[in-house]
Symmetry: C2
Subunit: 168 residues, 2 copies
């Protein structure tokens, strides 16, 4: 690997990713006709995504970066994106791979746009993994050096959470 440590520490990288992902989420949502409103007052360190029923996770790796980006949504937000992506042709159903693929594709599109904006060289991502459940919770790693951040968005009467975890 030719990657060299450019002195980007965990905190700085997290802040770059937070800004890039926030902009990308709003922008991608707008292109499918959804107004995702960033709820700045509810930003939190760690992971805090109450009411979530679906999640899509993407791994981001390259150079000194070892991160994950996760989207978690409650039912109203999930329904809003499924309706928007399918033109109302697919009914949102957490057991249906077709509607779950919407949340995966959304995570993919946001990550693609965010990582271009972030301009960290040589980043590569995994395909999104989708999970559903009742009382769905993401639990932050208890490891030193792992920092997580939850960005909440108001969507269609529901909540969409973007969770970034960076390993220093």
């Amino acid at each position: 690997m030719m990657a060299t440590d450019t002195g980007t520490d965990t905190g700085k990288l997290l802040s770059i990713l937070v800004n890039a992902y926030t902009g990308a989420l709003i922008s991608v949502s707008r292109t499918v006709g959804i107004d995702a409103e960033f709820v700045k007052a509810e930003i939190s360190h760690g992971i805090n995504a109450p009411g979530s029923r679906v999640a899509a996770l993407i791994g981001i790796v390259g150079g000194t970066v070892h991160s994950t980006a996760s989207l978690m949504a409650d039912l109203p937000a999930f329904e809003a994106y499924v309706a928007a992506f399918t033109g109302g042709m697919v009914k949102a159903d957490i057991d249906d791979p077709m509607s779950m693929s919407v949340i995966g594709e959304l995570t993919n599109m946001i990550s693609g746009q965010a990582l271009i904006k972030a301009d960290v060289p040589n980043l590569d991502i995994t395909p999104p993994q989708m999970l559903s459940g009742e009382n769905l919770k993401a639990i932050p790693p208890k490891k030193a050096g792992v920092k997580s951040f939850t960005l909440p968005f108001s969507v269609g009467g529901g909540k969409l959470f973007l969770i970034l975890s960076v390993h220093g």
Copy 2:
């Protein structure tokens, strides 16, 4: 990046990872005193992990590889690993980061050993992401070129599932 396509196709890579991960899961379990029995008859294409309450996901990226490895467990299997890793000092609780970190660390250790065995150059992994929920389900991507495979293991009266997804 210096990585070149060595002609490893998705099916071959998946088979390499399946073998390496199966061996690593059994070996790592044994080192903490757990007899994880591979239930060959229940191997399935796609994702099939009924009864799961906890999940830990790791992204694997490098060269032409874009994969994820997930462990999913029901309560008895989760309890067995928490007891084994903590010497019975921690009661398994899906809402407790301390006991959830066990399933993350297990996924880390298995991935570390599996990727050394698999001997695919330049692979890099993300920190594990842990999720819990009732009726927890992983939904396979509906994308062409993504292949998933579920390997079931019998553990302490419960079930542990190893899910590998490879993007071609």
